[in-house]
Amino acid sequence: MAAVSGLVRRPLQQVTVRDAINQGMDEELERDEKVFLLGEEVAQYDGAYKVSRGLWKKYGDKRIIDTPISEMGFAGIAVGAAMAGLRPICEFMTFNFSMQAIDQVINSAAKTYYMSGGLQPVPIVFRGPNGASAGVAAQHSQCFASWYGHCPGLKVVSPWSSEDAKGLIKSAVRDNNPVVMLENELMYGVPFEFPAEAQSKDFLIPIGKAKIERQGTHITVVSHSRPVGHCMEAATVLSKEGIECEVINMRTIRPMDIETIEASVMKTNHLITVEGGWPQFGVGAEICARIMEGISEKLVLEYSQAVINIVYLNTYWIRRLKPAFSPRSCVQFPGCSRCSCHWC
């Protein structure tokens, strides 16, 4: 991991998530003429959240396209362009607005390869901020991980760190399938250490593989996107009390890497899922269901601890999370149980 002079100014480069996505898109735009970016304010405004800063100046009107406020229309245009052989990156200003275009994402993009019997691929990326932000109210705070994660034919990724963001956007652009990348607005400005390999123009993170951010032996904590950071903080707190959490960063929602989660749960016998979406029919619910199905074959006798699914309520959840993690408030039920912040 020797620092390559000229590439880094400090021993380990600090890169924000925003810059990581920007770098990833820049590299892919440079690499392949067919890649282009379209969305509201992506060009002259430099991106509503400045994620596409500098790209329009570098690549011009043909490759970086400002659209009118017409989600259904421009998402459909992006899908059509992908069907005709281009490789669009379609930005939704937030995924809340993608709901207006969701028919194009699911029915026109996700299902087409299957319905055509393998004749018509749709190599498109839909990206943008997902989930809660800071006090933006209900219409602007929905997490779409489980909605998109439900659909076959789609790949859904959810980066946490800068490394995740860059590796996943590059993999998404190179993937010949429709990929939904759920970013997080509050993470854009957060700097992370960028390992040397992440600085390569061919740095890719495989879609469909989770990462164990922190090794542990007592409890498995699974999360995606911004909550991964909170899990890491909680793990540090618990470590002082002698509880070692294994924190898993899902990175991909679909296809889910359930094997990594299963292996961890078999080791620890405890599972908490943490996410920013609503509890019913959520990502955590799916993980619990799959663990219970898998466990019934592998760990029937050994597994009798509770599986706790923690969901954010858009409020001051860190205070909730700490007591929730402490063994004093850990509730034991036979089999699987899910509770969502009853102690709020």
């Binding site: 421009f74 069907m83 019997g117 393998g118």
Partner: protein, 386 residues
Amino acid sequence: MITKYNLLFVTSPLSASRVLVASRNFANDATFEIKKCDLHRLEEGPPVTTVLTREDGLKYYRMMQTVRRMELKADQLYKQKIIRGFCHLCDGQEACCVGLEAGINPTDHLITAYRAHGFTFTRGLSVREILAELTGRKGGCAKGKGGSMHMYAKNFYGGNGIVGAQVPLGAGIALACKYNGKDEVCLTLYGDGAANQGQIFEAYNMAALWKLPCIFICENNRYGMGTSVERAAASTDYYKRGDFIPGLRVDGMDILCVREATRFAAAYCRSGKGPILMELQTYRYHGHSMSDPGVSYRTREEIQEVRSKSDPIMLLKDRMVNNNLASVEELKEIDVEVRKEIEDAAQFATADPEPPLEELGYHIYSSDPPFEVRGANQWIKFKSVS
């Protein structure tokens, strides 16, 4: 001058009659007057006369007859429950699909909605592949996994089930045409019912803004399912609905009118002026789909009237025969050949096996290594191959 040898033709063997037909004095071509198109924001429209060569005439006749017979065969197979699910037939609208194809190049692009069998054929797939897809067999063009509404071919993007969604897709294909700089255009079709979808107006806006080479085509067959145009649209001048986009209203039952209008529209787009809109006034004989008898919202008399006065195949046939471009017998021969082709295709479509259950999970992702897909429960797994 027509000289008459007809009796000899009917009784002589095929090869001999061909020789006799060939030696008969047909005209090479004929000039026809066609209806003037209504124009919106256009100074000039397509020409009002056109030349039809004998060769083209025979080709169009055969194609239209094939589409007609194929649709009627699909009707028959559906009633026998060999075709299931959705089946939207386009008999009556043959001049649209054949005429549009006649006005563009194979390198141009086309996308339409669910009444797509005719376009699937004119864009190059065989009747065999189409009927086998309708019957859901592995010899179908989508291996039996798409069905009536999801057939794809080179430069043909279906077959789309969601009303109106294909229009932004078409504008996107046009964007790719412009991006690639290859002088190709995209024909983006929708019906009179779909014309009221909001996303179509979003597509109009972006296509005009970015000057996309997109020909928006409204196939107005007067009824969106069971709702007549007067009951669905505040303005039934569909060719004007693009507002800032120039438009023309075309007689969709006359294949020559459709062809000329398409040539005009394609030239307009290729010149870089941006999108253009065409309204084809046409009619479907069948109901909306096979589950619709088609007479609760319109009268049998109306259907009969269109059939007897404006049938596109009859119009072409009359033109050709009356202008010495072909003989009645020759066209009848084409009918016989077409019937046989359809019959053979139907046989294949009925006898071909369904795709095997093991392949249920195939084609979920493109270009990926094989993986496992969960079946109806956690112990049933299907393999998925790209």
